[in-house]
């Protein structure tokens, strides 16, 4: 009666599973493998052809020798490499400090914007005005206005260092963007979750802290990390404040100004790419772990 017992009882790990694939299944596996090999071959060939065509077009252009000398001077690049790498360390530190401040500020603003009830109107209005303003003004203007404007007010107790005002500009502008990311996440948590939390007697704050915000953060992790990648690059914009922050970009600019050779910019660019790649891969990994990409057959 128990027809399948001879083949091992499914769902019961103690009985050994004696299944061996049938010939039909082996054929299907072989066919799928051959398709995989075929797709890999197509991918390799098309990549080689595309890259070949691009190289042929660029290397064959009339201006290539001059371009190579001005932008890809290998020995000059090596010469300035360590100097620019040292500048990159400043970019990394700026990114870490600003990143943490941005996340704290943005979460605060996002939570304030989701508060309900007339009592919170002033707070809500302030938070809304803040996001509206700093998402609208270009970062470079905020940098110039705060970096040069505030110190020129000569208010004694305010910091005079343009580097600090540069950081504050980054925090204000990115905080506005990231708070919208958080708000989207908070509002995407289904109302039934709030109802369940409140039904257990949690206050609004406790509900946000233990139920809503943790779920929201998980959902917005990829866009959040995306903004962190963008921040990493935009720390380079601080060079507009002049010789306050000897970061990678400013050092490349100084070098270029002396030799009229643009290779230092290319070196700085490559270093920034190398810096962002791990963060991008980390973002992908997080997304995959949450099952957002390539889940199943359909």
């Amino acid at each position: 009666m128990s027809t399948s017992l001879s083949k091992g009882t499914p769902g019961n790990p103690e009985t050994p599973d004696l299944w061996t694939p049938s010939q039909l299944q082996l054929d299907r596996t072989a066919y799928r493998q051959s398709r995989t090999i075929r797709s890999i071959a197509i991918a390799v060939i098309s990549t080689v052809v595309l890259v070949g065509l691009a190289l042929w077009g660029i290397l064959g252009s009339a201006g290539w020798p001059r371009f190579q000398k001005a932008f890809l001077d290998l020995s000059y690049g090596k010469e300035v490499f360590l100097d620019i790498l040292g500048g990159l360390w400043l970019n990394i530190r700026l990114m870490l400090v600003c990143g943490i401040c941005i996340i704290v500020l943005a979460m605060l603003v996002a939570v304030v914007r989701t508060l309900r009830g007339p009592v919170f109107f002033p707070l809500r209005a302030l938070a809304t005005a803040y996001t509206d303003l700093f998402r609208g003004v270009p970062l470079i203007l905020v940098l110039l206005l705060l970096g040069f404007g505030v110190p020129s007010l000569r208010i004694d107790w305010l910091p005079r260092d343009p580097l600090i005002w540069g950081c504050i500009s980054l925090i204000l502008v990115y905080g506005a963007y990231v708070s919208e990311v958080f708000r989207a996440g908070i509002e995407s948590v289904h109302p039934s979750q709030r109802a369940a939390a409140r039904s257990l007697g949690l206050s609004h704050g406790k509900m946000m802290r233990h139920v809503v915000v943790p779920q929201a953060i998980r959902r917005v992790m990829p866009p959040l990390l995306n903004d962190m990648v963008a921040l990493q690059k935009d720390t380079g914009l601080l060079y507009v404040l002049g010789a306050v922050a000897y970061d990678a970009i400013l050092r490349a600019k100084i070098e270029t100004a002396q030799t009229f050779n643009y290779t230092p910019y290319v070196v700085a660019g490559l270093l920034f790419v190398l810096l962002t790649i791990p963060l991008t891969r980390f973002t992908d990994w997080i997304a995959r772990r949450q099952g957002w990409v390539g889940g199943g057959l359909v």
Binding site: M1, S4, P10, G11, W19, P21, L24, R28, R32, L297
Partner: protein, 247 residues
């Protein structure tokens, strides 16, 4: 030759072997009901038939075509097999009408006017023409499930699969969905139904299949399997159902 012939089917998720050496034939115009405990593989079987899962071994032959062959066009097969899910799975960002016309227009390339005419006719049939421009979440569960059935039927499938379609519905809404399924049955649709509605299984099915341990434990006409089961596992399952007052 049966319309659907399943032989030696195997599917596992990690160490959990859900279906093992599963065999089942369904003739055209037949209505087969799958019963069994939660996790016995009813849903997995339906998902395999609709190619939403890749089988690990064995064969599913639909209308003479081996649909488990990786060379077949899975999308084309899927459009010939309708499936209705437990949680409706309507697209929340589209109107009822757009939900129904999506596959005809985007898969089969039917013109907008023709697809909408078909969809409205189908909505007439399920009694929801007035809701054509409504969003799914403004409908009751029973109405949503009827839209989901209409969405599957508009592709004129060879075979309809129902995966516990009434389990998420309030009791008073179950009837309207079951009535639709009875109509379908009387029109000669071939159906495979996974359900916990034993009374309904008794009324509409030509045969009842009891799944246990990944394969068919017992199969036969409903009056035999549900009233006088042979397999001890079926007896045990039905005793618990009767204790719960569901039969």
């Amino acid at each position: 030759m049966s319309l659907l012939e399943i032989s030696g089917l195997r599917k596992s998720f990690g160490p959990n072997v859900v279906l093992n050496d599963f065999n089942l034939n369904v003739d055209a115009h037949q209505c087969v009901t799958l019963i069994g405990a939660s996790g016995s593989g009813k849903s997995t079987l339906l998902r395999c038939i609709n190619l939403l899962e890749v089988v690990e071994d064995g064969q599913i032959v639909l209308d003479g075509t081996d649909i488990t062959d990786p060379r077949v066009n899975a999308d084309e097969i899927r459009s010939r097999v309708g499936i209705v899910f437990q949680a409706f799975n309507l697209f929340p960002h589209m109107s009822v009408l757009d939900n129904i016309t999506l596959a005809p227009r985007r898969v089969r390339g039917v013109s907008k006017d023709a697809a909408e005419a078909d969809a409205l006719a189908m909505l007439d049939r399920v009694g929801l023409r007035a809701k054509a421009s409504a969003r799914p979440d403004s409908l009751s569960g029973g109405q949503q499930q009827r839209v989901a059935i209409a969405r599957a039927l508009v592709n004129k499938p060879l075979l309809m699969l129902f995966d516990e379609v009434t389990s998420a519905l309030d009791p008073e809404l179950v009837g309207e969905v079951l009535a639709m399924m009875k109509d379908l049955k009387s029109e000669g649709m071939t159906m495979v139904i996974a359900t916990h509605e034993m009374g309904f299984a008794k009324q509409v099915s030509d045969s009842v299949v009891f799944l246990a341990d990944g394969s068919v434990a017992e199969t036969g006409p409903p009056e035999q399997v549900l009233a006088d089961p042979i397999d001890p596992r079926t007896q045990h399952f039905l005793r618990r159902i009767i204790e719960a007052g569901r039969l």
